[in-house]
Amino acid sequence: MVIHDRSYARWESDRSKPVRATWVIMDRGVTTAFAQIFKRKLLGQLLSFWAFGPFLFAVGLLYAGFYLRSNQESFGDAFAALQQTDLLAQVTPSAQTVWQYFMEVQIWVCLVITVVVGAGLIAEDRRVNALEMYLSRPLAVWQYVLGKLAIIAFFLALVTVIPVCLLITLQAFLDGFEAEETARLADLMLRSVVVGALYVGVLSILILAVSALSRRARNASILWVGLIVMVEGVLSSNLQANFLSPSTQLMSLYFNLSHCAAWVLGNETVLAANAGVSVGDSAMVLGAWCALALTVLLRRIRPVEIVA
């Protein structure tokens, strides 16, 4: 093949502007992950339906409730019937429903997302020796980690925090921004964002650390799911209640997350059920997990692998 020098020209530009590497990595990562999910159309549609089905159901129900209540002359019986089913109470934003949305409704979707999107984020880069390519560019290790963290955090937030915030906003609209209710919803939204940040942050950093431990996305997925199943299975509520002391629940990621989330949201029902363990201990355990994950990330993400 003849080599034609017909295109190379010097690039004149200002190189002093800072590189937004974190944004570039996140942008590309999110696009690639969407493409991967929707490469198999059916899988993409099923996952979307699973992830956003409960949210759309809640939106529909809230609007239906609002419509029926507004037209009580015509649909008075229907509104009463709807109230009797307790369905409206289950989707109306409150400390209890928000906690349920995070910890019961979306937890499995989040687990699937961490496997599908998160497990390969660093493992694949390590498999194809891309770390050296990244880190020989003008970006630091923390920017790389933050970029990868932002990818998985985006997807987790997309199915948890964002729907919750939208539901609260919708409720405020349907209530006509009545002062007392709006204040309650604003407080709830703030607490939900804090819970979301904790939830998304902890899950993201843990799956990223697991991903950094392997050179294959599949192996990282197996390790992640295995850890979750083993720990959560051993500490399942029946076994826990009958044989183990309450403090052993601190080993459970789910327990610690739900405990902290309940405390932030002010969910007294859950707090009362977990009375044997203090929220501070749960928060400390989560902090320790995150510190361990960060250590793993910083040890694993190196441009040059040194073999002793």
């Binding site: 093949m1 080599i3 034609h4 020098d5 017909r6 295109s7 190379y8 020209a9 010097r10 690039w11 530009s13 190189r15 002093s16 502007k17 800072p18 590189v19 590497a21 570039v24 990595i25 590309r28 690639t32 991967q36 390969g120 694949e124 880069d125 498999r127 194809v128 020796n129 891309a130 050296e132 390519m133 990244y134 880190l135 020989s136 560019r137 003008p138 970006l139 630091a140 441009p303 040059v304 040194i306 002793a308």
Partner: protein, 314 residues
């Protein structure tokens, strides 16, 4: 401010003073001091000589244990991000951004180097065309042949138009035609485009074809920094000779005529001839010692070994 990256146009491309690099207890580079003005420079040495470690140190991927280093006038270890915007690096290992086409990978490399989106797209097309990848640019990199992967790595190293290009074994795994094309590209960059090139190779011929000066490393130490012409003048040819007759007399005759006898077995010895010495001298030695030459054949000594011999590395 002399340390600022922008104020270094007249400074040497590389300036190393007593550089030592360690991987744990293992010393990869020891007391390396050299000043390279620019152009195309070859890093030569056998495997494990420290060529890749030197490049990685200059990119601030590996920390300096001792000594100081400046690249394009900028101290290594400070302003790393700004410095890397002016450096292109083509690594030795097979590497790719996962799940991307050739165009996407090149564009992404440009974006990571701080290029605006539109510029990165335009430059990606340009450098892919330059690297001869225009027809394969929309294929996944994972489907590329070894030669194409080398070209895409070169395109990624060039996309942000660096002032200095580090090429670590760019002809690895290439067939003769691919190797020749790759070297042609590198020569074009160095000669026509004014990009400083540091080419690391264990193949003297690659360096000979592209570079105007050479830094020779061995065991983590710098053995020599000289122009290619100087080194070529000093290189000796090796010949294997099998004779009938007195081996001692023949060896003495060879040494008397200024030939270096490197290795002797029963009826066979290895001679080193300086470039200006003709093979005819061997026959003269045979005539003098009444020996009969049964076989005279050039020995294919690895080029870097011969080079290091000349430089007194052994």
């Amino acid at each position: 401010m002399t340390d600022a990256p922008g104020a270094s146009s007249a400074a040497p491309v590389l300036e190393l003073d007593g550089v030592e690099v360690r991987y744990g207890k293992h010393s990869a580079l020891s007391d390396v001091s050299v000043s390279i003005q620019g152009g195309a420079v070859g890093l030569l040495g056998p495997n494990g000589a420290g060529k890749s470690s030197l490049i990685k140190t200059m990119l601030d991927l590996v920390p300096l244990h001792r000594g100081t280093a400046r690249v394009l006038g900028v101290p290594v270890g400070r302003h790393s991000a700004l410095l890397r915007r002016r450096i292109g690096y083509m690594q030795e290992r097979d590497a790719a951004f996962p799940g991307m086409t050739g165009f996407q990978a090149t564009w992404y490399a440009g974006r990571l180097s701080g290029m605006p989106d539109a510029d990165a797209r335009r430059r990606a097309h340009e450098v892919l065309l330059f690297a001869g990848m225009e027809e394969a640019r929309y294929r996944l990199v994972s489907t590329y042949s070894t030669g194409m992967r080398q070209r895409i790595k070169l395109a990624q190293a060039l996309v942000h138009d660096p002032d200095l290009l580090f090429l670590d074994e760019p002809t690895n795994g290439l067939d003769p035609q691919g190797r020749s094309e790759m070297l042609e590209l590198v020569r074009t960059l160095a000669v026509d485009k004014g990009i400083h090139v540091i080419l690391s190779s264990h193949l003297l011929r690659d360096v000979e074809e592209v570079c105007n000066s050479v830094v020779v490393l061995r065991g983590g130490r710098m053995v020599r920094h000289a122009s290619v012409e100087e080194l070529q003048a000093a290189t000796e040819d090796a010949y294997q000779v099998v004779i009938s007759g007195s081996m001692d007399d023949f060896r003495a005759a060879c040494q008397g005529l200024g030939l270096t006898v490197r290795e002797v077995k029963e009826t066979q010895l290895e001679l080193m001839l300086k470039p200006q010495v003709s093979v005819r001298t061997v026959f003269e030695a045979a005539l003098k010692s009444r020996a009969i030459i049964r076989r005279l054949a050039p020995v294919r000594v690895s080029l870097e070994d011969a080079l290091i011999d000349v430089l007194g590395g052994r």
